[in-house]
């Protein structure tokens, strides 16, 4: 196979057991550069084991991992220069400043001194760490620590960046900033983003791999996985300076109303379409009743619903909301 045509990351039949417990069972998938792959699954699904196997921290019982057509078993520790790993727990290198930490991580690659210095500066800039570069790791906020770990993954020639629960403990603003940063990193790399936080995954990932009990239960692009239900229509109307629609008016709508809720200055109404292609009737009704339409769209299965269906997780929605 020509290396240029290979997917950036290839995982083939990866299996790993701990004693009699099978943490991963024949997991296979591929990922291309420029994409963010979300790894979703309940606790114990095998997400961290999968990341550790890809990162080379543990050896698989069976299967193999390739990056740009080079297989992990063909090379020794050298192979790990292709990977940048950001573990769930921040590393306990508290005695180091951000710059020293990056210097250490770049030092274990085979880059020459000037290139290392360039990469460190570039990583500091990319992750907005220049102002805290001389500050010791232990004196950084959680957000900056996560950024430091991410910068650590950038100072090598990593083609694959593995993020294990990267947004845990971050506030909403930090999460947003971090997600934006992750998107920019995926320009010429594969980013694997592991999380149990569904909104985080949905907001940043192009593709999703759902793991349950060590096996892949779904994989594909977010758009492909989330099926569109054309029978359900969501109408959102702007209520600025107006009162919410009364039940009597809703009963006059062309289709049955499934639910209606008011959030701030908006009212969201869910209709059940009785036949395809009748959306215009709803628009005409809304215009006739002087409504300000903010949004009209068909329903799409949420990732939380998909996840719940695949893994049997009853609290998927709740977990997602709590993490927001």
């Amino acid at each position: 196979m020509n290396a240029k045509t290979d997917p950036t990351l290839q995982v083939v039949d990866l299996t790993r057991s701990y004693g009699s417990f099978k943490a991963l069972d024949s997991v296979s998938f591929t990922a291309d550069a420029g994409r963010v792959l979300g790894l979703l699954g309940p606790n114990g699904a095998g997400k961290t084991t999968l990341l550790c196997l890809i990162a080379g921290a543990i050896v698989p019982d069976d299967g193999r991992i390739g990056i740009d057509g080079v297989w992990s078993l063909d090379e020794g520790p050298e192979w790990r220069t292709r990977i940048g790993f950001v573990p769930e727990e921040s590393p306990a290198f508290t005695h180091m400043s951000v710059r020293e930490y990056l210097d250490f991580l770049s030092g274990v690659t085979d880059l020459d001194r000037s290139e290392r210095a360039e990469r460190i500066e570039s990583a500091l800039t990319t992750c907005s760490l220049t102002d805290v570069a001389e500050r010791r790791y232990e004196h950084l906020s959680k957000g900056y620590r996560r950024r430091t770990c991410l910068a650590g993954a950038l100072v090598s020639n990593a083609r694959v960046i593995l993020l294990d629960e990267p947004t845990s403990g971050l506030d909403p603003q930090q999460k947003e900033d971090f997600s934006r940063l992750v998107r920019t990193l995926a320009d010429n790399r594969v980013v694997v983003f592991s999380s149990h936080n569904i909104p985080d995954i949905e907001g940043v990932c192009d593709d999703i791999l759902v793991l349950n009990k060590g096996s892949v239960v779904a994989s594909g692009s977010v758009d492909d996985l989330l099926t569109v239900d054309n029978r359900i229509l969501f109408l959102t109307i702007d209520l600025t300076g107006r009162k919410p629609l009364e039940d009597s008016l809703l009963k006059q709508a062309p289709f049955p109303v499934r639910s209606s809720s008011v959030r701030g200055e908006e009212q969201r109404i869910e209709f059940v379409l009785e036949a395809e292609g009748r959306q215009q009737e709803l628009i005409a009704w809304a215009v006739a009743n002087d409504m300000q339409i903010s949004e009209l769209r068909t329903a799409r299965e949420s990732l939380a619903e998909l996840y719940r269906g695949l893994t049997g997780q009853q609290n998927a929605d709740k977990a997602g909301k709590e993490d927001l």
Binding site: P77, E78, F85, E89, F93
Partner: protein, 239 residues
Amino acid sequence: MTRFLAAYKREFRVYLYSSHGWIPGIIMLVVPVMNQFRFGAFMQTGIMDLSRLSSSWIAVLSLTVPALTMRSFSEEYRTGADLLLRTLPLSPSVTVLSKATAVLSFIVVFLLLDLVVPLSMSLMGTVEAGLILVRFTGLIMVSMVLVALGVCVSSMTDSQIVALMCSIVFFSVLSYADSVGGALGVDGTIVRLARQISLDYRHAPFVQGLVDGNAILYFFGMTAVLLRVAVHGYVSRGY
């Protein structure tokens, strides 16, 4: 080599920037000097005898080296920092060797600082430079084995206390193996074997200013074996 140096620098910084390194360091610096000048009644005797400096170093090393090495791996196992190390392009041998070398060089720094004693004594009279050099070499050899032992124990547990206690016990056994045999009245092959592995026995020629080739082989051989076991311990503790 670049990778080794990067890992070594990181390890050395751990000791340099933490009380965990400085407290044993200060003990290494102060106790042998105090023992030489204060408790040794050095001034009263009027003889420039440096043997007390050497013997107190052994006692100090038997406590401070386990205190330094106990965190080599145990602390990282406990905090999970070893996971990141395992994802770096470092072989287990390089990881173990960088940790051991960092502790050893930290000890050597304090050994060198203690050279101020013979240097100050040289102002008062003649000091045998050769004898001091051989004793210094002997102390480095003993430190080498002790560090390897400490790192080896630390690679097998995530408890620093267990690592500390086990290192002290193993060091005592290794150090006084021949004396214990003699004290128990055991004779013959066991005593001879105990003597062969005894640190005390192997170190004795260096105290007397003699460079013993067999002892050097023993120190390097023992260090190599212990570090090899440490590599095995580190690998088998994998995730």
